[in-house]
Amino acid sequence: MIADPEDLHISAWTWPLTWAAAVAVVIAFLAALGYAPREQVMGEVQRIFYFHVSAGWVGGLGFMVAALCGGLFLRRPSDKLDDLSHASVEIGLVFTVINIITGSIWARPIWNTWWTWDPRLITASIMAVVYAGYLVLRFSIELPESRGRMSAGYAILGFVSVPMTFFSIRLFRTIHPVIVGASAAGAESIGMSGRMTGTLILSLAAFTLLFAALLIHRLRLSRLQRIVEHRTWRQLESH
């Protein structure tokens, strides 16, 4: 039997968004490798910066969406908000891990180490652990109703770690470069040329599109999951 799109819950936005994200990411990739100039001091390895910052941004964005949906869910519970919150956390977590890994790759030649206990690195890994905890918490609550409520509460509580990570390099003495906004005295900042800024904005936009595309696919999956869950409950009841 061939299922039609209606059954599979593919929305009108699914494929256009997917293609737009794919094209945008490829363009951003080419721009980071070709269009952006070579950084004077750090050389080629600095090019990872565009994707590093973008991945960090998507991480924060995902957790913000999750917290907002969590808040709305607690006001008026609905499956959609719960799924949205869950999907955002999952995507945000993946991108936070990408952010940490790319940062580590950059740090190896620049700081001469894969890892150091810098405030930014600590807060970023705490953030990752906090949201990994979200998935564990969610997984361990069986009743869908309380699962949604507790997850929503936790998504709001966990969001405390996001501004903490963002501001850690602005408040403490750190070796992590500050790109956006004023930095604490002594922190290093990168002077970016026009082409660099352009590439960064392009790759931020591409990653945001990618986030939206992944979100729409993940939401479809959650929807199908709920249908299966519902059928299983009904079958159990009829026995």
Binding site: I126, G153, V160
Partner: protein, 161 residues
């Protein structure tokens, strides 16, 4: 000395974990009142442990820990820790794995609290003045306010059946 303080924070952690979960099956009366009740209970529990540890320390080490500034740090640290513990205990109490889950979920968000408390305590014991620990005390106070307000706002919705 530093290890001793870390140990003392760990004692607080285990106390907190065992203290809160069991009491949570209570029926809600007025929800934010329930939260503050549990919070005060948790706080008193923590402070008792802290008082015991502080007196033992003063007894066995040639450093007096019965100082107002130190007690202030302990109270600030415990207040935030109790708020976070109470909130997380509530979030996990429907979970099938709550005994394992609570410390797992509690420690990462508690990290800034523990860090600030440990640093402030260490600086005080090394003879630094109040001005030197202002940053850490500010972090402690900020965490306290954030966790307390969050818990207070969320509690009503979370306990709804």
């Amino acid at each position: 000395m530093f290890a001793g303080i870390l140990g003392f924070n760990r004692v607080m952690a285990s106390e907190r974990e065992s203290g809160c979960v069991d009491t949570l099956a209570l029926a809600p009366v007025d929800r934010s009142a329930v939260f503050f009740g549990k919070w005060i209970g948790g706080l008193v529990n923590l402070l008792l442990v802290a008082a015991l540890i502080i007196s033992l320390f003063s007894l066995f080490f040639p450093i007096s820990m019965l100082r107002w500034d130190l007690i202030g740090v302990v109270i600030l640290g415990s207040a935030g820790y109790a708020a976070l513990g109470t909130l997380l205990a509530t979030l996990t109490f429907k979970s099938s794995a709550r005994e394992i889950l609570l410390p797992l979920l509690l420690l990462p968000p508690a990290f800034p609290l523990l860090m600030a408390a440990v640093q402030a305590t260490r600086n005080l014991l090394e003879g630094a003045g109040w001005a030197a620990i202002a940053t850490w005390v500010n972090i402690l106070a900020a965490c306290d306010v954030i966790y307390l307000v969050l818990a207070w706002m969320l509690y009503d919705r979370l306990l709804k059946e």
